[in-house]
Symmetry: C2
Subunit: 367 residues, 2 copies
């Protein structure tokens, strides 16, 4: 990505900081630092405000920062300085009257250590620390062209790996083995790793929405739920779910599948700029409720994806807010019948200026 | 593991809580909850104290808790309750006068939310929240027999995968491909995943202690540094490093290798119960300093391994404390020459009642 991309993001954050009436923010979230600067390492913080922009890091990362963040000022710690003393010194030099910290990321101990280190500095007395949550995350939910392209690639890799996995699936493989094969195939295709631990659920294991793959073999039931995605080296990721037959499926599974598919299409159809998040959820939920399965759809309809696998906006019955162009969300209704099994169908959908585009393209048929 | 194992750990924690003069602790660290209860899920907290022991979780995990934690009381949230209201209600019912929270894990926002939710309850007024760091971690640094056996297995898997990787290594593979092959092999052998992203560093890339594998190919230099480990499904892990020739290595590399190996053996020889952590570090560091490379060994000698890849105790020049039987530590001195390359040799060592046992066994020769 071009350096201008990062400068534009930083300018947007500065506007949010002005709105929040703080002079600067200490960004400590690894993904947030990366989003704002392009730096791909960790253990580093960005101090950013009206009149300051400096990456606080250590000597391990000096070369990497010079390569990845041309033009960005960096304060490099040597081994003799403690991390929070370094952070405090950089803050004291910038002297922000009000300093925001990422309160949803910073631990209680880290906050205390930074406060104590600032108080020890000469300039420290005048600095007020203000907890501020989910600020960079507000920017991250609107994807720019580079991020949309990266997400398309992460989806394409996941889909190709799924096709390869399905083509070579045998009855004797365990859930865990299938999960590992899937990740291996995604990596061969350019992924850095799986976007999350793939859910490979044989038969009634699919009734648990967050099942972890175990030792059950594919041949032990007649259907399989696969929930997987790819993460690129840049961090962007995909998230998909399919259920398919590995034998003769019970007629009830076919019925569930028909209902979930109808609900998913209804949810997707409701996606456009300005649509209320809860209305998109209810467009899909209504279909499942009308079929009599409402109580078996126990989670929200979807969530944003990006550098994290779960981001804003959330599509759920209690979510506030509306969709905006540039959101990329999953649409993943499900029905889960204990001791029988579950069906979930999940695609990744981009909110466009005049509607939506389904970014994923795998067939959704059960058989 | 037997339920008695977990009860014993809980009793030890209760002793530490009494020493810290608190009535109960809200354990929120995922690995800490797992260590104390055997529960392998996440998004759950354990409230434990003199007269209370309850796992706070949600309906997704109800079945799993019953299976993994027989006899453990669980408070299961339904969808209509907010997580922090549930936590506050459980705390209010137990009414600890002083409640410790894991301040090195809990975020500033989480602490605020829990405080506010407690204050809303009737019993809440009398409860004082006390930040307490690294308490369960104190217990975790002494491994019991089950943990030692798990670590042995994690080492064995990593070593077998390394042998397989080395046997099939070709010049055209990239660092990233080797990393992925290594993880795939470890999984075939029973690992859940790599213990951390493997460091595969061709040639002068090895001069960066925290290098991330990239697109350089094996054949582009004459030596390779591999730092890798396996994580079991139970979470226990190994951590090893070897450097070996893939061509005709420069004589300076051979010299570095000889110094590092001598330093590593000196570090290992210093390991016994009661040895000061900083003395073990300096036993190895002295060898490197005397060879004139002191300034190129910029990190500590080693660290504990267990459910996390970096645990207490740390072997470093600023570490306080002594080794105790049951510690498992890495011993990994290195010399890193910018633009030339680095050598690090790492093994995993158990502190026994009368000395030490090197748990890993791969040859350390360069050629």
């Amino acid at each position: 990505m071009s350096p201008e991309r990062f400068l534009a993001r930083q300018d947007k954050l500065r506007s949010l900081l002005r709105e929040a009436e703080v002079d600067a923010m200490l960004v400590t979230g690894v993904s947030n630092v990366s989003y704002l600067t392009g730096f791909s390492g960790d253990s580093s913080a960005l101090l950013i405000g009206t009149s300051v922009r400096v990456l606080i890091s250590d000597s391990r990362y000096q070369t990497q920062i010079a390569e990845e963040c041309p033009g960005l000022e960096a304060d490099i710690r040597t081994q003799k300085t403690k991390p929070h003393d370094q952070t405090a010194a950089v803050i004291a030099q910038a002297r922000p009257g009000k300093l925001a910290v990422e309160s949803h990321i910073l631990t209680v101990s880290e906050r205390t250590r930074i406060q104590e280190a600032i108080d020890k500095t000469d300039a420290g007395k005048g600095i007020e620390i203000k907890p501020l949550a989910d600020t960079v995350e507000k920017l991250r939910q609107i994807k720019d062209d580079d991020e949309i392209a990266a997400t398309r690639l992460a989806i394409r890799i996941a889909e190709r790996a799924f096709v390869a996995m399905k083509a070579t699936l045998t009855d004797d493989l365990t859930e865990r083995q299938v999960a590992h094969e899937l990740e291996h195939a995604m990596r061969r295709l350019g992924a850095d790793r799986a976007a999350f631990e793939p859910i490979i659920a044989v038969g009634d294991h699919s009734a648990m929405p967050h099942y972890r793959p175990g030792e059950r073999r594919i041949g032990e039931s007649s259907f399989l739920l696969v929930d997987w995605g790819a993460a690129l080296p840049s961090g962007y990721r995909s998230d998909l779910t399919r259920v398919f037959a590995t034998g003769t499926v019970p007629s009830q599974l076919q019925e569930l599948h028909g209902v979930v598919l109808k609900a998913q299409l209804a949810g997707i159809a409701a996606i456009r700029p300005g649509a209320k998040l809860k209305d998109v959820d209810s467009a899909a939920r209504r279909v499942i409720e009308e079929a009599g399965y409402g109580e078996f759809f126990g989670h929200g309809l979807g969530h944003g994806i990006g550098l994290h696998i779960h981001e804003e906006p959330r599509l759920s019955s209690i979510a506030e807010g509306e969709l905006q162009p540039g959101n990329i969300v999953t649409v993943e209704p499900g029905i889960y019948l204990p001791d029988f099994g579950g069906v979930r169908i999940e695609d990744d959908v981009l909110v466009t200026p005049d509607g939506h585009e389904v970014l994923s393209s795998l067939p959704k048929d059960l058989v």
